[in-house]
């Protein structure tokens, strides 16, 4: 069966060039970068090269890049380490109400130990208002953390403007750019951020490896204390294979990023335009244009996301959903709720995240496969009281 992966936010394939770059480190190059001898050195050099590429991808300096075990660790570290190091400023944190779980739950843990948190609302598109950030600042504000673009709804936040405000008040500013870096060009200088989380898989590197950018001079305490890997700031023998993969993936992303977004944008636009033409009562989620180029987020009324995903999966189409059943914590997406979408509607969430391997034909297939699945489930749904009928494709 033909597999159509439109769940790139969860899993993008590792590029063959990336895999090829990694394989020598599975075989002959097994040195430990901390070793004094030459076996360690060849690995250190390879890691340094990876660091340079990752730095270049976001216009940072290599020594501002710390490799981590992924977006979650980067986020936890930025928040916990950032607040601890800046505790002289106070213990007030400003964030948004649509952050990824790795921000949300890290912050809940911080609240337990006395950190005060302001969670900014978003409008119906999922936008945070920079003015709200300004208003939320208190003399005790020690950190601002706002995501660059939301993984579920695609909306790209006004990070540059928030960065300016943070700078004006001299408050450290972190942004979770896990869903953003690799999808659109990101420049830490323009954005005025002090810390930025990124992960490798969104730009076709391996899972379980990421980085935290920490601007030179920004204060942060280690989350993983120990040896002096990563300048003493992130201890632990390096995930060499993963870091090499991330570096190679970054190198390719630097030159391909524009092509990639040019490739997925029209496919995304087709999904967002054509699905509502073939299925009644489909809602578009997020902003129509200020969104990640590969992200199409929809809600289908009267049916629940997991059941649609299961039928799609049987037909080879792999996507995600913000429904409660999918979320594993069995709560409907807090992001959609924060945008004012009611819980019932949000259950019908469908999230398509496109990648370089998707084609126009894939979109044709999805537009053909999805409507009968929806109809079948609506016919079973106690919420769908009218006679459901497919609209003819116009």
């Amino acid at each position: 069966m033909k597999i159509i992966n439109m769940d790139h936010v969860a899993a993008s394939p590792i590029l063959p060039e990336v895999a090829d770059a990694m394989i020598p480190f599975l075989k002959e190059k097994y040195g430990n970068p901390s070793s004094m001898h030459s076996m360690g050195e060849e690995v250190t050099e390879a890691i340094d090269e990876a660091r340079e590429k990752v730095a270049e991808l976001i216009n940072a300096k290599p020594q501002e890049i710390y490799f981590t075990s992924g977006g979650t660790e980067s986020n936890n570290w930025a928040l916990k380490g950032g607040l601890f190091a800046n505790r002289a400023k106070g213990a007030h944190l400003i964030t948004s109400s649509i952050e990824h779980f790795s921000i949300m739950h890290a912050i809940k843990a911080l609240e337990k130990i006395g950190v005060e948190v302001t969670r900014l609302p978003v409008d119906k598109y999922g936008f945070i208002d920079p003015d709200d950030v300004r208003k939320a600042i208190t003399p005790a504000t020690a950190l601002i953390s706002v995501m660059s673009a939301n993984n579920e709804i695609g909306t790209i936040e006004p990070i540059g403007e928030i960065g300016k405000i943070a700078k004006e008040f001299n408050i450290p500013f972190h942004t979770d750019a896990v869903a953003t870096v690799g999808a659109i060009p990101v420049d830490v200088q323009n954005l005025n951020v002090d810390m930025m989380s990124l992960a490798s898989n969104p730009f076709y590197g391996p899972h379980g490896v990421g980085a935290l950018y920490v601007r030179k001079g920004a204060r942060i305490s280690p989350l993983l204390d120990g040896g002096i890997q990563e300048g003493g700031y992130r201890a632990g023998t390096e995930n060499v294979i993963g870091i090499i993969g991330m570096g190679k993936a970054a190198e390719i992303a630097i030159r391909e990023i524009q092509n990639r977004s040019n490739h997925v944008r029209p496919l995304r636009d087709r999904l967002m335009k054509e699905i509502p033409l073939t299925i009644e009562e489909v809602g578009l989620v997020g902003h129509p244009t200020e969104r990640l180029p590969g992200n199409a987020s929809l809600t289908v009324r009267y049916v629940e996301g997991e059941s649609m995903l299961l039928f799609l999966d049987m037909e080879g189409v792999k996507i995600a959903s913000g429904s409660a059943c999918i979320s594993r914590s069995l709560k409907v997406s807090h992001v959609m709720l924060a945008m004012g979408i009611d819980a019932g509607t949000a259950q019908g969430s469908l999230l398509f995240t496109l990648g370089i391997d998707n084609t126009n034909e894939d979109v044709d297939d999805v537009i053909r496969i999805l409507p009968p699945i929806v109809q079948r489930l609506r016919d079973m749904s106690p919420l769908y009281k009218k006679t459901g009928r497919l609209k003819a494709v116009s």
């Binding site: 019932g344 259950q347 079973m380």
Partner: protein
């Protein structure tokens, strides 16, 4: 994730629909949880002559509804009231832990339809209970320190009953 039996009931659910002249109707769940199940029953001589359901929910919710309808059909009301969480899971040859709450819902919805029938027999109007989002179960209920998963704490409290 789901076994073959579950997938069979999900892809070919038995007894989907409504009974226009139902003797009893029961529903549970709410959209916030992701599951709503509605059961219609037809009773004759204390026996569930017909059972139909409509379900909004995940794969497990649909499979559970289908299985409950099959288990219930032809049973006496008393027998049907004994259909439990566990018996549904067993009939489905297992469900992922985090889907166990769905099996609760299926039996509950059926029981409410039976209660509705019984109330109607007595001529009483049946006040339908309203479900809160706390009927949602939680996959981290069986972790070591529930305090550390506060975002699920209420759900855990409920599902561990």
């Amino acid at each position: 994730m789901y076994n073959e039996t579950v997938m069979d009931h999900f892809t070919n659910p038995r007894n989907v629909g409504e009974i226009p002249d139902a003797d009893g109707v029961g529903s549970v769940g709410n959209p916030a949880c992701g599951d709503i199940m509605e059961f219609h029953i037809k009773v004759k001589d204390n026996i569930l002559e017909d059972v139909k359901f409509k379900t909004f929910g995940c794969g497990a919710a649909i499979a559970v509804s289908s299985m409950v309808s099959e288990l219930a059909k032809g049973k006496t009301l008393a027998e049907a009231m004994l259909i439990t969480n566990e018996s549904v899971i067993e009939a489905l040859e297992g469900l992922p832990k985090k889907k166990h709450h769905c099996s609760n819902l299926g039996a509950d919805a059926l029981h409410r339809a039976i209660e509705d029938y019984q109330e109607k027999q007595k001529g009483e109007t049946f006040e339908k209970p309203v479900d809160s989002p706390e009927v949602c179960s939680c996959p981290v209920c069986d972790v070591n320190d529930p305090e550390e998963a506060p975002y699920c704490a209420s759900a855990c409290a409920r599902s561990s009953k």
